[in-house]
């Protein structure tokens, strides 16, 4: 390691030699950086899970364009849309089809004492709404009133229950005063707003929610003709439906707006984002403490070197060398611990808390930058001082 660093740096790797000379301090410093890494990874994991679960229901949609109420910040927020807009949309050039899409919430109180909070999708079962083979294959069964498709990736749904349903044993349960039969399962997964999803026909939905009417779906799903740009059709729709009660966006635009709202407007998103900042600050403080103590401990030696003509850039390079070594050595246990904790969290919450290569690299570079900033601050005392003042 010393020989490698000597070659790389073209000088004695004083930073590395100083770090390894005091092994207990090195271990504490690595633990500190690793802790900061874990803190940042966890907050990024939560934030990533929020983003991922926000996009989950949009992903299998066949529709290209979503017509929503103008106050709909997310898929489940906002008022309903007048069905009249559906008919207006059908008359717009480039539109292939338009379908109503109903959304509701339902808490399934299970016999085993657990509760599953479902987001209920009410769809026209005669049309392909989701580009998911499992849903598409089962949608014919939804035409029978009071049947449902159950999200087997929802929280508190045992694999045995899902296997039983898919094995041909429908599961009957009470939902808002109706007895529903789960006839098949599909997989979307848990999010921050719901434990999972339930898909029913529009007719079953309206039976489950008697206060809702067929004339006011939550969204209108629009598909465009093959070869036609969804952006162009969306623009055409905006011209054809000038009323201010709706907002017309492509599904990708709606998903992006939902993500932005969840991460920057909702308290949970702001808290996770703030957590990342706190993680970085804690990391900065830990690394600054380590490096500034190290600089203070070697002040006389540095002053001696300054006295014989070493420049400030030399001392900065020593501290930067230490900072980068700490960043890399702290990152390795940090990322390994974070991977373990991600697994634990995914098992416990059903949320997709996953490590991505981009995130790992971003944290490594972020930690390195954090360490370099701390190092630059730690060497300030050396910069302007006369060597004689440092002895």
């Amino acid at each position: 390691m010393t020989a490698l660093l000597t070659t790389l740096l073209g000088r004695l790797p004083i930073g590395w030699l100083q770090l390894k000379h005091n092994k207990s301090r090195l271990a504490a410093a690595i633990a500190g950086v690793a802790f900061a890494n874990i803190l940042i990874f966890m907050q990024l994991g939560f934030l990533g899970a929020l983003v991922e679960t926000t996009k989950l229901p949009y992903r299998p949609m066949v529709a290209d364009i979503l017509i929503s109420a103008s106050d709909a910040n997310t898929l489940s927020d906002g008022s309903n849309v007048a069905r009249q807009r559906l008919y207006q949309a059908l008359a717009v050039p480039g539109v292939a089809d338009a379908s109503p899409f109903y959304l509701g919430k339902f808490d399934w109180q299970r016999d085993n004492g657990t509760t599953v909070n479902f987001q209920v999708f009410g769809i026209d079962p005669t049309k392909q709404i989701f580009n998911d083979p499992e849903i598409d294959k089962a949608r014919a069964q939804l035409q029978l009133l009071d049947t449902a498709l159950l999200d087997r990736s929802a929280r508190n749904i045992e694999p045995e229950l899902a296997a039983s349903i898919d094995g041909g044993m429908p599961h009957r349960f009470e939902a808002n005063g109706r007895t529903l039969s789960a006839v098949r399962t599909f997989s979307i997964g848990a999010g921050f707003e719901a434990d999972g999803y339930l898909i029913v026909s529009d007719q079953t939905f309206l039976q489950m929610y008697p206060q809702r009417t067929a004339g006011a779906p939550t969204h209108i799903l629009v598909t465009v003709k093959p070869g036609v740009s969804p952006q162009t059709v969306a623009q055409n729709l905006r011209s054809a439906i000038p009323e201010q009660d709706v907002i017309i966006r492509t599904v990708d635009e709606a998903a992006a707006a939902d993500e932005a709202y969840q991460t920057t407007e909702r308290p949970v998103g702001v808290i996770f984002g703030f957590g990342v900042i706190i993680g970085v600050l804690v990391g900065l403080i830990i690394v600054y403490q380590v490096l500034s103590t190290d600089v203070a401990d070697h002040l006389r030696e540095y002053a001696t070197l300054k006295a014989v003509g070493y420049k400030q850039s030399f001392f900065l390079s020593i501290v930067f060398e230490e900072a980068i070594i700490l960043a890399i050595f702290g990152f390795i246990p940090g990322v390994l611990f974070a991977l373990g904790l991600y697994d634990v969290l995914t098992s416990a919450t059903g949320l997709p808390v996953e490590m991505t290569g981009t995130r790992a690299i971003a944290v490594l570079f972020g930690t390195s930058a954090m360490c370099l900033i701390s190092g630059a601050i730690a060497t300030r005392r050396l910069a302007g001082a006369n060597p004689a003042d440092l002895f």
Partner: protein
């Protein structure tokens, strides 16, 4: 073991620039510490010229201003008032680049050895060479080994300071100060941590450097045992030079 009895000519790698008979020339030097009511004058109108190749000892009671003068002449402290010309370069008002260039022509030996505890004796000495650029960084082994041999530590090259005695550490510091072939050596109590014989040999080495390489040495010491080797002894009292005597040979 007889220390420092080897040829020091091997350390010479560059000639001292010609035309500088007085590497240190001080005129009207005043210096203060503190500010406001706590401001206290440490040096009063010092005039001093030191000849090239001489071994000059600064003596005086504690607080007499000798270390302050050493640090001012050695570019370790900003000159506030008066003139300090070091190797022909005025230090009063000099920018950092000028100070760095001057410092690279100096060697320092401090009372405390100030060695890097994580570096071996060889690596500590190497630090005195690396500052001189890529070529010095490439060819560091031979001069570093030679200097450590010269101070009697040829068998301790790879020892960390923690495994050396106080005197041995100080001798590593001496080797570090001399390995860069300095024009002037500033030494503040260099023999304080050494036994009588080692102290005598360190000063002998500095004296020989003056004779053979024209290296000038300005040394602060309370050690009466080394006075006989001085070319000149300057005594300070309360920030003033009260006695300046050339030694007869």
């Amino acid at each position: 073991m007889k220390l420092f009895n080897k040829d020091i000519a091997q350390t010479s790698k560059a000639a001292i620039p010609p035309g500088q008979q007085s590497p240190i020339h001080i005129k009207g030097l005043n210096h203060w510490f503190g500010s406001g009511e706590a401001r206290k004058q440490a040096l009063f109108n010092i005039d001093l010229t030191i000849e090239r190749g001489s071994l000059v000892i600064l003596m005086g009671a504690s607080g007499s201003g000798k270390t302050t003068m050493l640090t001012l002449a050695g570019c370790l402290r900003d000159v506030q008032d008066g003139s300090v010309q070091l190797l022909g370069q005025e230090l009063n008002g000099a920018d950092e680049n000028v100070l760095v260039a001057c410092r690279r022509r100096l060697g320092f030996i401090f009372q405390a050895h100030n060695l890097h505890e994580s570096l071996t004796a060889m690596q500590n000495v190497r630090m005195g060479l690396d500052v001189h650029g890529p070529q010095a960084r490439k060819d560091w082994k031979a001069p570093a080994t030679h200097l450590l041999n010269l101070v009697g530590l040829g068998d301790r090259l790879d020892y960390l300071p923690g495994n050396l005695s106080g005197g041995q550490k100080q001798r590593v510091a001496v080797a570090r100060a001399l390995v860069g072939n300095p024009d002037i050596v500033f030494a503040d109590e260099p023999t304080a941590a050494l036994d009588k014989e080692s102290g005598h040999q360190v000063v002998s080495l500095l004296k020989r450097l003056g004779t053979e390489r024209n290296t000038t040495t300005l040394m602060v010491t309370h050690d009466n045992k080394v006075l006989e080797m001085a070319d000149r002894i300057i005594t300070m009292e309360d920030g003033r030079i009260v006695k300046d005597e050339a030694m007869q040979r």
